[in-house]
Symmetry: C2
Subunit: 606 residues, 2 copies
């Protein structure tokens, strides 16, 4: 069936493209800050092709359109784009061209590629320049073609700033600013152009509400040795926030005035550091032009805030450990409810998620969900980032498995946890998969390793038991997690593949990282067991600084899915020790005897 | 006690340096080809400081000298350089400057750094240039200062070339040349300057005898689309070799004429590929000058021969599998002999090594040892690359442990194997270490993983059990192994650390790699268990190409050192399966009932 809504939107876009003499129009999934989750205002890619996932780039030509996304979303994208006429390009699959390869193949001399230079990162834009300029292709980056063809576009979000107490942040903005300035000097820079929303919020100890599931404010920051200039919508600045920003010496400018910052602040002895992967192409062009004009240079490097933010301070760690226990207790209650009520009252993926979200919202200090809850029954769980909707959802039955991946942002931390539970009988094969995933999660959590290791050294610990079955999960094993900030945070991660042009980051004491192996069998079932770990220093001796992890998540792994015969004694001991830890921490938070008895049973040794 | 021999040699060198107006003289461990093992002619670093290890760089100033080496050699270097006045710099230890850092700190404007530009790689030389030129330091690379101060220098080796039958090589030189030319075209080059001795031998299916434990001939090769020019000492070319080289169209020039190759062959449409890490600095200078003059460019990349040589062909693999069984049988006999004769007749580290070397030499097809046998008793085994000498050796007693690391080059393959055996009682701690090393070796050998993995993804499998005890071994877990060539071969390896500027290489089917975790406790004991693995393709499915390893080495792991209580059942099964495989393959090669009975006992299930 044709999707006439999308087809009409594409026609409107093509009309604007024709007037602007643009032959191909590119739209990534990004706001002006390369955020992972974006406000509705920025959801142009979704508007013009229907695909709602968190990663995808749409390219529209006059008689063709294509959308590139990664392995997590192949199934979902195919479903959501059915009837739109947009071709799905499965990134990293054999024989599938990259966007640049596709454009190089199809664009002709004299043609124009258009994109909004504010939503395309400098890195991406420079790559397109490099690949297309030799063909004689022109780049038009100063027009927002999507915006011009989108009459009912949602407005730019406008929400109050929130100031975080130094006691809650663990470190004052002044201290953080001085650390960043020190890091700049080490890179031979004396100014800093920062576009990453979570980095800005972390640095100034503020939060916002402009992006769903991400407590950040739309803003830019320009920092010199003496000045801090924050660019944001003045309507977001409450009286409290204004007083606070004044007190710590932060000047304010309008959000869109950032484009004038380079001309205003770059003098001949100004060396601005900026991050090519996290700065818009158009802004980078302004900055390099201003630097050229002033006769100075720029330094491109990873935002120094990224690493400083990733290594949590003692206050943050203390709060995180506590909030994870309280958040885990919520999930325990919820899993008890699903396990004991399924088949007795109607439960759907949507109603289950609503229940869990409401339970979380009732916790003191709750701010918002850290991402939309993934509530997936049966074969739906094979889609890693499945989202049930009121239009399309499954009902839970007392058979097969149910996967729930969820988290909250609280005063005191951001959580993320996945458990898969059995609602009834499953096959031996499913139990084999379930057991391997549990073993992998525990193996990584119990790792000991030397400081200097990155996630690439460790990934096989979690993934090995899955590989041993000739199965892979097409995503990383783990990501960093923010503190009252984004649920996905860098620079570290747990992955086995190296990513072209991306510097690996060592796992350092105080970093938070997820541990989430899985098995996803299309059309059949999906299993993911995700716990969050804190990296900690162990013994230091002549061989180096040994490291390990502290468990933060305390939710039972459903032993109904475990086939004990497939576990080694040491693995059983790890599982039992984990479950003893769950009961010890969670039982005191559960008053109802019935749920407590269930927890006792769910955590008894195998 | 002063080492007057070394001190006098240094005085002689300083006199030559003074005349040449050179303030610091640098000597790496290398021949003109950056070989790992070098002929005596090239052992200048050893001559001038006494250190005999396989990695070290000597820097000599007028009133100071320093020698940099890595963790494998700290103990040995300290001992060998005692009394020489040369300072040991422990590479990678905290606070120890690199050579470049040291020179940057100590050299002054107008001073000169001298080195023989033929023995310093382009990479190293360019790094020195970059770091020292800004200080106004001059580089003198056209004089062989060491040679000028070394009256009794051994002559350049001169040994007959050997031609390898196509049936033994598995692929003709013509086929290999065409593969290399294809690889050059993919890198947009049409000529190739090759200095690596083993790559030249592999490419032309020849062998030589110019370097101990390395069946290679001193040579260079220059390749164009039409021509192959081999530079070597004409005295090495037998009538057979001459006829063969003529037949396959290889032109010959004198060894030292290579310096004229760039001027002779580089025209305006010649694009020469060369490997900066494996080409001499002086030759690189000639090449880039000739290319500049001709108005063309060069391409620097890893030698394409490296990867082609590393992936063994079916003939090579078949021969390797066979030769490893025969070589393993020799080691089994030897271990039986040591275990049953120690304490009953005098055995020293030296006499044991001589016995093993003679046993190996009696195998049909034996060419030479693949490296000097490491025969180390007790605390000596804590030195990874210990070499007993007639002047300094230990006697084996019926207590503690004995480590033997050895191998041979045969028609049909190059072997490398280490076993550590108990000669008497050991402590519980030693058994804990011994068991962890065995478990680590087996864990890597039994790994399953996806194609695309490099050694950095896999290292933790072997190293993890050692890390779990808060111990590390300061070296990689594994290295590639040649076919009738060098026992250490790239580009792949098994290591956890990334090496600056070195591209990681995927583990591909047909690659050979060692698996050698260890525990080294200075002054106490050393344990290494090294087996050699062949990477093999497993199941291919929608998730990718799965891979694993085939075991090539079949020698018992001394179960006297194993504490079964520290092993998981699956690990015990891996050990028992391995031992069953040892007995099955080796017993038929052992006629003596006594040794066979011993082997049966040594391989019985634990």
């Amino acid at each position: 069936m044709e999707n006439t809504v999308i087809r009409e939107r594409l026609s409107r876009l093509r009309a604007v493209m024709a007037k602007a003499h643009v032959d191909y129009c590119l739209m990534p999934t990004a706001d002006f800050h390369n955020s992972e989750y974006v406000a509705d205002f920025f959801k142009a890619r979704e508007h013009f092709c229907g695909f709602t996932g968190s990663n995808g780039t749409l390219v529209v030509g006059f008689d063709w359109a294509g959308m590139w996304t990664d392995g997590r979303y192949f199934i979902q994208a195919e479903r959501e784009m059915a009837g739109t006429g947009v071709t799905l390009f499965r990134m990293a699959d054999e024989g599938v061209p990259t966007i640049n390869e596709y454009l190089r193949e199809h664009m002709r001399e004299g043609e124009t590629l258009g994109f909004d230079g504010r939503v395309v990162s400098a890195q991406l834009g420079l790559g397109l320049e490099k690949d297309l300029a030799p063909l004689g292709v022109r780049i038009e980056c100063d027009r927002d073609l999507a915006g011009e063809s989108w009459p009912d576009r949602p407005p730019l979000p406008l929400n109050d700033l929130l100031v975080i107490d130094d006691a809650l942040a663990g470190k004052s903005a002044e201290e953080k600013l001085s650390e960043v300035r020190k890091a700049l000097r080490e890179k031979n820079a004396n100014a800093f152009l920062l576009s990453s929303l979570d980095d800005i919020c972390w640095l100034l100890n503020i939060r916002g509400g402009d992006v769903a599931c991400s407590p950040v404010a739309l803003s830019y920051l320009f920092l010199t040795e003496e000045r801090v200039i924050l660019y944001l919508q003045e309507g977001e600045v409450t009286a409290d926030a204004a007083a606070y920003l004044d007190r710590i010496g932060v000047e304010r400018r309008g959000y869109f005035e950032i484009m004038e910052a380079p001309d205003e602040f770059v003098a001949k002895d100004t060396i601005v550091l900026y991050d090519q992967a996290r700065t818009g192409y158009a802004l980078m062009k302004k900055l390099t032009a201003a630097s050229d004009k002033a006769g100075t240079k720029t330094v491109t490097d990873r935002n120094p805030t990224l690493l400083l933010k990733a290594v949590k301070n003692e206050t943050e760690l203390k709060n995180i450990r506590e909030i994870y226990i309280r958040d885990s207790a919520v999930l325990c209650r919820f899993l008890w409810w699903v396990k004991t009520h399924v088949g007795k009252e109607p439960i759907t993926e949507v109603s289950a998620a609503e229940k869990l979200d409401a339970m979380r919202a009732s916790l003191p200090g709750f701010l918002e969900l850290s991402f939309p809850t993934i509530s997936a029954y049966g074969a739906n769980a094979a889609m890693m980032h499945y989202e049930a909707t009121p239009e399309a959802y499954a009902e839970l039955k007392p058979e097969g498995m149910y996967l729930v991946d969820s988290g909250g942002t609280y005063f005191g931390g951001t959580t993320d946890v996945t458990r898969t539970i059995l609602l009834g009988p499953v096959s031996d094969e499913v139990r084999r998969h379930f057991t391997a995933v549990a073993v992998g999660m525990l193996r990584l959590a119990n790792a000991r390793f030397l400081r200097g290791c990155t996630g690439r050294n460790l990934d096989i610990l979690a993934r090995g038991p899955v590989w041993d079955m000739n199965i892979d999960y097409k995503c990383g094993t783990g990501h960093g997690v923010g503190y009252m900030l984004n649920v996905h945070e860098g620079p570290h991660n747990i992955r086995w593949r190296s990513i072209e042009g991306e510097k690996e980051a060592e796992i350092l004491p105080g970093m938070i990282v997820s541990d989430e192996p899985g098995v996803y069998i299309e059309g059949s079932h999906g299993i993911r067991t995700e716990s969050i770990l804190e990296a900690v220093a162990g013994e230091k001796n002549g061989d180096g600084q040994f490291m390990g992890f502290r468990m933060l998540t305390w939710v039972p792994i459903d032993t109904d899915g475990i086939d004990v015969r497939l576990m080694q004694p040491a693995e059983r001991e790890q599982l039992n020790a984990y479950h003893a830890g769950v009961y010890e921490r969670i039982a005191p938070l559960i008053e109802e005897p019935e749920i407590r008895a269930w927890l006792k049973e769910a955590t008894k040794p195998v």
